[in-house]
């Protein structure tokens, strides 16, 4: 079609046609241009229609009613045990592989779950397949939602946000392991709201089941909502303030009705107090957390577990958007009042390298100071983690 227009134009330009044929050619040209315009409009209309369909396709991330995500981390530990006769820890481990699965039933009601495999498989040597989250979420209003099901307990820095690219250190810190038993999930109902810069959470949930055999250690009391005794419940409340860019101040309290689920007459209720700050200004970030349990009863008091406390301070500095260094000083004790040396402290220094925002390579060096007769690990950790 274009060649016919060109030929017509050339003929016109060189005056090779008479007056009558020139008029015919002009008319023909007008028709050709008109046809081209119609064709062009048709192509553009069809392109718009194709783009509309493509942009509304459920295959676009975030557009589907059912959503998939996940994270995972592989660790290499090369740790010397300073305890006389203690075994070193030289191992490589796919520590965890997690799949998120969510579904929107409607604009206001949705499902969210987190399914975890730890240490690649489950057998006599360990490993775990666990449901870490499985709840229905209801939007009640603009700044208010409710959750019912297996929910992460709203306490600490890492319990709710623990994807590997979001924190420093190959292993999660020991305070949010032994004092706040991350990843800590319970079955229950929670209300999560916000008013301006103040966010609040209230959760009524299943309780811990510690025992005298484990010195009432908090981490051993997790039931993971697996045919768990439901004799005594717990209530957690948290307030969080984020009124200044980069700053988060948070305080949480939890009351356990009976931390042994009625199995130990010498034990009873328990209270957890936790507070933390996370402050980021420019390339500098500071995280600091304090958590302390108070257990009622003669049983916990007899072994000094009536108080279990821990804290850590973690400054970090991002040298570039892809590379950051950190140091962490942490300290925890699950039998503070035992009268013996029962406190463990740990210092970590290391770096994170993010080749992509969702992928991280980590390295750190750790040194521990543990009670006499306990495992005391010094050495290096290397890890790779991801999220999507």
């Amino acid at each position: 079609m274009y060649s016919r227009i060109v030929i017509s134009a050339v003929l016109l330009a060189f005056g090779l046609s008479g007056p009558a044929s020139a008029a015919d050619s002009t008319e023909m040209l007008k028709k050709e241009v008109s046809a081209l315009k119609r064709q062009n409009k048709l192509i553009l209309d069809r392109l718009e229609a194709v783009m509309d369909v493509a942009e509304k396709s459920p295959s676009r991330k975030g557009a589907s009613h059912t959503r998939l995500g996940g994270y995972g981390e592989l660790h290499l530990n090369q740790l010397d045990n300073n305890r006389v006769g203690g075994s070193d820890k030289n191992e490589i481990d796919l520590h965890r592989l997690i799949v998120f699965l969510g579904h929107d039933f409607s604009k206001d009601i949705r499902f969210w779950s987190e399914i975890e495999i730890e240490h690649t498989k489950v057998d006599d040597e360990g490993g775990e397949v666990a449901i870490e989250q499985a709840y229905i979420e209801f939007d009640l209003a603009e700044n208010l939602l409710a959750r019912a099901g297996v929910v992460l307990v709203p306490v600490g820095i890492m319990n709710e946000t623990h994807e590997p690219p979001t924190f420093y250190g190959v292993e999660r810190n020991n305070v949010e392991k032994n004092i706040i038993p991350t990843t800590w999930r319970e079955a229950g109902v929670s209300i999560n709201g916000r008013s301006g810069a103040l966010a609040y959470d209230v959760m009524l949930h299943s309780g811990l089941e510690t025992s005298a055999a484990d010195n009432y250690a908090i981490r051993d009391g997790r039931q993971s909502v697996r045919k768990a005794p439901a004799d005594d419940f717990a209530l957690t409340a948290r307030v969080k303030w984020t009124g200044i860019a980069g700053l988060e101040l948070s305080a949480a309290i939890q009351q356990q009705a009976d931390i042994t689920q009625g199995n130990d007459a010498t034990a009873g209720s328990a209270t957890l107090l936790e507070t933390h700050l996370a402050w980021q200004t420019g390339p500098f970030t500071l995280r600091a957390l304090y958590a302390s349990w108070s257990l009622d009863g003669e049983g916990p008091a007899a072994v000094g577990a009536d108080e279990q406390t821990g804290w850590y301070v973690e400054p970090s500095y991002k040298i570039s958007p892809k590379f950051g260094v950190f140091a962490r000083l942490s300290n925890w004790d699950n039998t503070v009042n035992s009268g013996a040396d029962s406190e463990t402290s740990q210092t970590d220094v290391g770096f994170n390298y993010w080749p992509h925002g969702d992928v991280v390579i980590k390295f750190d060096y750790q040194t521990q100071d543990a009670p006499e007769g306990s495992d005391e690990y010094d050495g290096i950790n290397l890890g790779i983690g991801y999220q999507f």
């Binding site: 783009m51 810069a197 009124g243 860019a245 988060e248 980021q280």
Partner: protein
């Protein structure tokens, strides 16, 4: 238990809107241009533009085209980026290659909605774009909202880049 019920009553008494829709795109554009917005134009992300957009977002752009509004040296963009698992809709105003204003229009995720507050979005004001497509200002993050912060930071860089491309095209005409 009484405390729980009290908190529930307090929280529900003040609420009225649907969750997360703070301003419609149309209202935002109208607000920026004081009630008389120009006709929208379309920018296609093809060739180098698509490559650079992919570099900024760290993934392929969800759409091959984006609408914008332009009047003199100002452009307005309505862009979307997924934080953790749902798209956040953001309105961005660019004036002479600097961010004039950012506003979260729709927030659909369950966590990280702190990014919609002025104390966070005001940090972006007057930020420009470096040659390697990074913001000229450091944005302070929010613990627990890492992915939402990252989504807004990416969109800020993308809007600045697209503004530059539109300006170049206009200069060439």
């Amino acid at each position: 238990m009484r405390f729980v019920i009290f908190v529930l009553l307090m929280a529900t008494s003040a609420m009225s809107f649907a969750k997360g829709v703070y301003l419609s795109s149309e209202a935002f554009v109208k607000e920026v241009f004081a009630g008389t917005p120009p006709a929208p134009e379309m920018l296609w992300l093809t060739g180098k533009k698509r490559e650079h957009a992919e570099q900024i977002l760290q993934h392929r752009p969800a759409s091959l085209r984006t609408r914008y509004w332009k009047k003199e040296q100002r452009t307005v963009w309505i862009l979307e980026e997924v934080g953790k698992d749902k798209p956040i809709t953001v309105g961005l105003v660019i004036n002479r290659n600097k961010i004039e204003r950012i506003r979260v229009l729709v927030f659909r995720e369950s966590r990280g909605d702190e990014v919609r507050h002025d104390f966070f979005t005001n940090q972006f004001n007057q930020a420009g774009l470096t040659k390697d497509h990074r913001l000229t200002k450091k944005i302070d993050g929010i613990t627990g909202a890492t992915l939402s912060v990252r989504a807004l930071t990416k969109l800020a860089a993308l809007a600045l880049y697209l503004h530059t491309e539109v300006s170049k095209e206009n200069d060439a005409q």
